[in-house]
Subunit: 270 residues, 2 copies
């Protein structure tokens, strides 16, 4: 007693029908080699499908109740499985959440890449605007996912490499815009007080993400990057209540201010 599977009949019912179906199949088996289930899919295909299902349900829970609202047992209930079955797909709750994190990073990365690509390649100001706007737009349509990525880290940083590379997609897009812009029209505004940045910034990494950009601008780029996420986080987490009334217009001002801060000028009519 005390376990839901015992008293809850609905899950059992679904399982029963699955059993029945596969028994029917067993009597129909004709071709050797690759066996196919009722849907005509291989085991590997069913597995990926099941993983997708699990993540789909988990994502709705994430959206509705936040990261702490993700419940493995509830997922299995929804899928007509017994609670322990989910461990065939994810070793732990953290593993599932990690998968969601990676997916979210890639989804966000893709959005930003598309936004950048949709602007004219040499209109850097337009690319900057489109990228910033899509970053904020994604965070507002996926608030729980954004919080998972940029809020309090709950998976205490195992961050299995895959996470890092997925997270880097957004960074690379912005880096490319700044580099492209610098290549053609080098900024004329003075850089920040040019101390030696040996040792306190990872110049190698900056040089890779921001080729063509003089190292004296690295700090400014870091600050712009920080400002962008800071604004989005503050807005989403409610810290602008009482300061910002119209987030849309405030954000437009911010990305304009940042573009100037970065040493570029506003071009065109956009």
């Amino acid at each position: 007693m005390g376990d839901s599977e015992v008293s809850d009949g609905s899950g059992e019912g679904v399982n029963r029908s699955a059993e029945r179906n596969s028994r029917v199949l067993a009597s129909q088996r004709s071709t050797p080699g690759v066996q196919r289930s009722r849907t005509g899919a291989s085991r590997a295909q069913l597995r990926t499908r099941q993983i997708e299902e699990i993540k789909r349900v988990a994502r709705t829970q994430l959206a509705e109740r936040g990261a702490s609202g993700i419940s493995l047992r509830e997922i299995t209930r929804e899928l007509g499985l017994v609670s322990s079955a989910i461990y065939r797909y994810y070793d732990s709750r953290d593993a599932l959440v990690t998968a969601l994190i990676i997916d979210a990073y890639n989804d966000l990365g893709l959005s930003v890449e598309v936004a950048d690509g949709s602007a004219s390649v040499h209109d850097y100001w337009a690319r900057w605007q489109a990228t910033c706007r899509s970053l904020r737009a994604w965070s507002r349509t996926h608030p729980a996912e954004y919080a998972l990525l940029y809020g309090t880290p709950l998976v205490d940083y195992k961050a299995p490499g895959e996470t890092i590379s997925a997270a880097a997609r957004v960074v690379r897009v912005i880096g490319r815009i700044l580099s492209d812009a610098h290549r053609e029209r080098a900024s004329d505004l003075g850089p920040l007080p040019d101390e030696q940045l040996n040792g306190w910034l990872d110049v190698d990494n900056f040089a890779e993400v921001l080729p063509e950009v003089p190292s004296t601008y690295y700090l400014k780029a870091l600050m712009a990057w920080t400002q962008l996420y800071g604004f989005i986080s503050f807005e989403l987490f409610g810290h602008y209540r009482g300061s910002v009334i119209d987030g849309d217009r405030a954000f437009e001002q911010v990305i304009t201010g940042l573009w100037i801060f970065l040493g570029f000028e506003i071009s065109g009519e956009s």
Copy 2:
């Protein structure tokens, strides 16, 4: 069965001794009116003491395991109480967390106020530095508390007024510095593109926090504020891995850059 109080003897033992003590007291009662327990404290005093104890234990759990690691049952175990007793002090887990949030805001606010006060009143650059440094220092000595305040909001914004006023303390300190600085030496750097900010910024609020500061600087102040917290959050949440090597020196550069961005000049030898 299935409840820890039944099998766990340690908590019971402590309770037993408490019972014994109060029975001894019962036989000692002599003076009417205000009864005093073994410690010679009134019921109200004992209550506040118990609340302090609860928060103390909760804070260690917060520090060791994060917000999700706060367990009411574990707190009661540590205090030698039965698990349900804690609800005499907090209606729910969220209520306890809210109390911790308010305390944390006030603790941070106090730190920042002290830091500002320790600098010479007219040395605004020194006050700015001291304030920013104490903000970051507090966040690094209280990472879990900082995450509670500025990370993913988990108490989905009831924010009972008390939270807001406690949170405003830091804002007011920074506002005072900028206002004082503007009063004497008005900045000469041009403000951001001066669109009308009617409607998209809460000018009344800004005017209250930043008297003496022209409204064309409100956006810059907001951005500086955002930058400050953005840096601290990114650093604490691990998003600067691969970019910032020495956070101390990077932060010094940022607060210098912000001071210039705000239209002031670096004064003195500090």
